[in-house]
Assembly symmetry: C2
Amino acid sequence: MPSGPGAKLTDVAALARVSVGTVSNVLNRPDQVSFDKRTRVLAAIEELGFVRNESARSLRSGSTRSLGMLVLDVRNPFFTDVALGAENVAEDHKHSLILANSAEDAGREQAYLDLFEQQRVQGVLITPFGQVLQRLERMRDRGIPSVLVDRLASTDQFCSVSVDDVAGGATALEHLVSVGSVRPAFVGGPFTLQQVEDRYRGAADAATRAGVPLQLFETPDLKFERGRRIGDLIGNLQPDKRPDAVFAANDQLALGLLQSFAANGLRVPEDIAIVGFDDIDFASQSSIPLSSISQPRQLIGERAAQLLFEEIDAEPGHVHSQVVFTPELVARQSTLRR
Amino acid sequence: MPSGPGAKLTDVAALARVSVGTVSNVLNRPDQVSFDKRTRVLAAIEELGFVRNESARSLRSGSTRSLGMLVLDVRNPFFTDVALGAENVAEDHKHSLILANSAEDAGREQAYLDLFEQQRVQGVLITPFGQVLQRLERMRDRGIPSVLVDRLASTDQFCSVSVDDVAGGATALEHLVSVGSVRPAFVGGPFTLQQVEDRYRGAADAATRAGVPLQLFETPDLKFERGRRIGDLIGNLQPDKRPDAVFAANDQLALGLLQSFAANGLRVPEDIAIVGFDDIDFASQSSIPLSSISQPRQLIGERAAQLLFEEIDAEPGHVHSQVVFTPELVARQSTLRR
DNA sequence: ATTCCGTCTTGAATCGATTCATTCAAGAAT
DNA sequence: ATTCTTGAATGAATCGATTCAAGACGGAAT
């Protein structure tokens, strides 16, 4: 029966007949301890079932081994993929990642930042929702830097990792035109979301360049159900007024459109082609696989975590950098007739 | 400019001209402090930008305010939903949830349990992967209890929250029979997974009761791609030897079947009906909405967290309880012709 | 024999908040 | 006038690991 709750460092030291300093060295700088003491200490640790108290460690040493990550929605596969990438990098640095969910709620966002400060995390990865930039600056001045994820830093105060949504929008529309669309439409909203705004602008510019009009169906959100409704609306238009292709601001919306068109007997892509954005797993797993604009999600997380560690170990004169990935088209059956 | 990095409790006390004890009381028992001192302290906290050091707090008080949660796969929506439920309960108890991902890797699982022990979390929610029960017992004896999630505790050593997969399997098969199937099949594997085993057994028993045979397509995993392959295989069978309905062990598999059938020109549900398991969001969002067996995911997380808190504040003589939810059928178009 | 040097080891001081036995103040009761 | 009572406030001791200046040891060099 391996001892009751809580053997501590001094107990280990006593059992191994060495000083506490030596035990600490075995834990943190094992190569500086002679072989026989090291084995004695390890045996004692084993026998007592000693587990070091992280609170005490970080109180004294003044540094934790953890990062905070705050995302808009853990249920969104995009964010879990980004988190996975970040976690891998954190693990390489022997740090752990505390994943929290602001759930698009400014109050929760603040509460979790409080928590991160109290825990003295080494740094924060965040997809900001509310007005938090000032606070993040203050935190950085106090020694907790952050990196903005999936959002271009508007100031040069932070590092950020994001995706070029304008280019993505352009790519999507050019693809639709290249498969023969002469009456494309954009479905998405609200335009207060920077991503939506950018994707639309990229598409609109590309449409102008290609000399085609771009019809706009603005939506109050980006959910599946909304896509279904807009799909019903489009399906009921006169065939000659109906768009021959749709660029949806994200895949949820696109899947909604797809379901609606299938239910209304519109053939995809013959009657109407669809391209989405994000390339979530289910885009390729739909009955009619969905063409989509793909973002390097894990890479985004990895890069963001790397930047964060660079700032944590900041050489004096660390320069904030803005990493922008260009998303790529993945063409599938929803735009390519077989 | 609100002070450099790190004002501490004594600084606050000095500025507010009170003792450290009083500041601590303002933080932890504000109602025991007179109005004017309380306001003075709060003002000082504000002015200095004081943030309490959680390491010091928990070192001295001997307890953290956090739970650890270890899931098999953060990318799986099932687990993020469960986590969400648990997080809500944790929040009610003013605890935070540290979400970690064993990614079905026994090494990572152990590493995260190490971490949780070091952090002195108050308790652990876990979907076990490797052989960890003994270790969990040891942890419990040392004061860190755990609750098993999505897995029935085989001993009475733990609380657990799970789903009755046998009943779910029976429900699925009965439904297929009720919509006219006389040649149903089960697709899934490996049978070393308890869930798969149980779902199959439930279905097989129900088939026997209904007096129909149950064909079996065993798979080495439960992924989408696997479903597509089995779908191709089934699609190539002679119509008279082909199953007229399929029960897939999970929705990923079912969606793969669906895509394959669509590509091969089989009509769902006319030629072949499909029912899945889990009722993930995308089940309802498929072009042909998928019938599925639904588990109360958030509720599972909530209940598990509640049980954990009960054990944490254990009255002497806490009895471990096994909560088993019965999953429900959600019938959609993949089994119901319109 | 003595000095020097590098390698190990030691243990008291320390990190910052909480605890709790003690002190204080002020009004009530005797 | 004195004693009690009650609620507030105090501050030294404490949690457990790390740090680091100082000491011990053993072998090489003089």
